[in-house]
């Protein structure tokens, strides 16, 4: 699943780059860029290793004891949207009738239980009208869209065939090594 997401994202980048190359006179060093990106597949294959800010490791404010339906729960440190836990899903499951987003943004959140920082993939759940319950707005490590992989003011269902946004799950996809 992680591999799939990563691959899809690369495909998406390539697709637009191709389109652009065909349509405009600008020259993008496709080969060089693909070569550079290619190294990632060696370096950290099974992670959806999106760009993120190393200085931005999260300290959830009041995470201890917060439940999965509270915005304060530690995994939600960079989640901007409706908690699927309040919408018929769970912290890692989309509600019935929706599908997980193919691309995601990634946050780094501190788990107060074990003291480690985790990489969290914020998959939007797609294809049903917005849930409307438990709106959270965490922005730890978040950046504007020029760092798209850690940007959260955008619909991450955008690459799905059915791109309607319903809610957001928070799944652990890696652990951030100590700083």
């Amino acid at each position: 699943m992680s591999e799939i997401k990563f691959t899809k994202l690369l495909e998406a980048f390539d697709r637009v780059a191709e389109t652009a190359a065909r349509r405009s006179a600008q020259t993008i060093g496709r080969r060089s860029a693909l070569s550079a990106i290619g190294k990632l597949l060696v370096g950290g294959a099974i992670l959806p290793v999106l760009p993120f800010d190393r200085s931005g490791s999260a300290r959830a404010d009041t995470a201890h004891g917060a439940g999965e339906a509270d915005c304060e729960y530690w995994r939600y440190c960079a989640l901007d949207g409706f908690l699927c836990s309040c919408c018929g899903g769970s912290i890692s499951a989309c509600p019935p009738g929706t599908e997980p987003s193919k691309v995601t943004w990634v946050g780094t959140c501190h788990n107060p239980q074990d003291g480690k920082d985790y990489l969290i993939s914020y998959n939007d759940c797609c294809g049903k009208t917005t849930c409307g319950r438990c709106l959270c707005n965490g922005n730890v490590g978040e950046r504007p869209g020029y760092r798209m992989g850690i940007h959260n003011d955008i619909n991450w269902c955008m690459a799905n065939t059915q791109s309607m946004y319903h809610c957001t799950v928070s799944v652990i996809v890696g652990v951030a090594e100590g700083k």
Partner: protein
């Protein structure tokens, strides 16, 4: 090229800086499934402040948690068919959200996947009204869907969901659909002159016949709510002033067989709400949302109490102080459980009935809904 490379390098930096701990369990997002045996509660919310985006909530009555939702579009109406594992939603779409070509359809949802599995196109005459049970029904054999039209002239659309064949049945001046229990092709409707029309549809779905009998209610002095409850092969209706009116719609014309004055001697109290009562047919008890200070125009007021009226012994069994409710239904699977909409506090409430005293107490709730009107617990 630099930008592209810049992005790639950011990827790379991360790739080397992160890794998997030995004991880390990497998760992948999955899609939740529904228990096939859960206590289903459906709530239709017109979401008036954003009327294009009405929705139907699916709750698990066991813990009052939200399990999923169905799109209801603009002024959508719902009809659950648990035996077929379907939820029908009659609604309207526009090509440009609020403008452009209008498409009226019945969306057929699978009640396990919560996905649309079929769509039945309709003429653009369906009543764009608040969801009342009597505006969208199925024939007693479950083979025909019966949907109220209003343009504002009224008619009823009989729809075969399998073949999608349809028949429009004129019913000017009449509103509400009450299928006969023993005659699958017959239904009644309430008319503005106090009569009820009885419509019999031809088996080939090509024509219908209508008969009208004597007056069955007083639309000026004491109108009937259009919500009605089944009790054996009769319907129980409720009047604005608190009369419970039993009507048979099985014959060629509808007939009142019994009238019980539930609120007699309590002139200040009256029923109110959008779905103001429920009937436990087995026990013979009606549960009614009642408010005090009743006056002209208070017939949609929220409850101050729930009254339990014993239909067999013709007496008020209990009055329970439960406030703020505007819609009420009895769980099909459990006659000691009611579900209700509290429009005042925007929540959905579960209530327990003491089977001895018929006293009622809240036993659970969820904060949910904006302008919900219809609640059903069909299994």
């Amino acid at each position: 090229m630099v930008n592209r490379l810049g992005l790639a390098l950011t990827f790379l930096a991360l790739g080397t800086a992160s890794g998997l701990a030995d004991d880390l369990k990497v998760e992948t997002p999955r899609v939740a499934t529904l228990s096939p045996t859960m206590q289903r509660v459906y709530v239709a919310d017109a979401a008036l402040p954003h009327m294009v985006d009405g929705r139907i909530y699916l709750l698990d009555g066991a813990d009052m948690s939200l399990k999923g939702m169905f799109e209801a579009g603009f002024a959508g109406m719902m009809l659950a068919a648990p035996d077929k594992h379907r939820l029908y939603v009659a609604t309207t779409f526009y090509e440009r959200l609020t403008r452009g070509k209008r498409s009226d359809v019945i969306q057929v949802f699978d009640d396990q996947s919560l996905k649309v599995v079929d769509e039945i196109p309709l003429p653009s005459r369906r009543a764009q009204a608040l969801s009342y049970r009597s505006l969208f029904q199925s024939s007693s054999d479950g083979k025909l869907l019966l949907l109220q039209n209003a343009t504002p002239a009224t008619s009823v659309m009989a729809v075969d969901p399998s073949s999608k064949r349809q028949l429009e049945i004129a019913s000017p001046g009449c509103y509400g659909i009450y299928p006969a229990m023993t005659r699958a092709l017959r239904f009644a409707t309430l008319c503005g002159d106090g009569t009820a029309g009885t419509i019999t549809i031809a088996a080939n779905l090509k024509s219908s016949e209508r008969k009208t009998g004597a007056k069955v209610f007083d639309p000026d002095g004491d109108p009937l709510f259009i919500h009605a409850e089944r009790d054996g092969d009769t319907y129980v209706f409720l009047s604005f002033k608190g009369k419970l009116v039993r009507m048979s719609v099985e014959g060629e014309t509808a007939a009142v067989t019994e009238t019980l004055d539930m609120a007699a001697g309590t002139s200040d109290w009256a029923p109110g709400g959008y779905q103001p009562f429920a009937v436990d047919a087995k026990a013979g008890v009606a549960y009614v949302l009642m408010h005090s200070g009743a006056s002209n125009g208070s017939h949609k007021n929220p409850s101050a109490e729930i009254w339990a009226y014993d239909l067999r012994n013709k007496r008020l069994a209990a009055r329970s102080p439960v406030t703020g409710l505007t819609s009420l239904t009895l769980a099909a699977s459990d006659p000691t459980t009611l579900f209700a909409i509290n429009l005042v506090d925007s929540k959905i409430v579960r209530l327990g009935i003491d089977s001895q005293t018929r006293g009622i107490k809240p036993t659970g709730e969820i904060k949910l809904g904006e302008t919900a009107a219809l609640i059903e617990a069909p299994r």
